[in-house]
Amino acid sequence: MKTGKKIIFWICALFLSVGFWGTADAGAQSNVVETISPAGVEKLIQSDSCPVIISIVTSRCRACRQEMPVYQEMYEQYRDQGLKIFLVSIDFGYPQHIQSLVDQMNLTYPVFWGGDEVMHAFDVSLVPYKMVVQNGEIVETVIGAWSEQEIRQKIAELLQICAQ
């Protein structure tokens, strides 16, 4: 019996200790994450803006989380020049995780939750996964993260191409 009790004790102690290690407080919920279907994502692709970046993410992927605030910066800076950024979460089951991230990061660009339907429809098996769209056409799909610098560079390039 002793071993069993010890194991129970340690498991309980572990989870209790985690409870006291609080998370950051969520900000005001202003940008509500909307549920999107694969058809909805198609529609996003076909919007006639230039350039459009559709970033498919999961909440628990560190690289994805690191890109989100950089997009926010870019969005604020360049949305008047036609830049559109859509974030689509493929977290399974529920949108709460991505909503909580949106609130904590105060993201204002459109964020959607597509779940595993979108994941299967677009054959995404590695995140982060990005689609670069120009005038309704996917010109590039990117697997893996971009650094802050790469995002800046890429968006500057795209804006130039679109301006022509």
């Binding site: 194991i7 628990r60 992927c61 560190r62 690289a63 994941m119 697997i143 893996g144 993260a145």
Partner: protein
């Protein structure tokens, strides 16, 4: 070997079976599934 030494085994067996069932009821199967089919690149050392 005395038989009582195996009470511990049965206790552990039932304990972990209960944990397993509890985990399944909390919806953890889907979490494992999600993690299993989307590779998080930073999780395998590629960033």
């Amino acid at each position: 070997m005395e038989k009582s030494g195996f009470k511990k085994s049965y206790f552990l067996l039932i304990l972990f079976l209960l944990l397993l069932v509890l985990g399944i009821n909390l919806g953890e199967v889907e979490v494992v599934f999600e993690k299993g089919i989307t590779i998080c690149l930073s999780c395998i050392g590629i960033e």
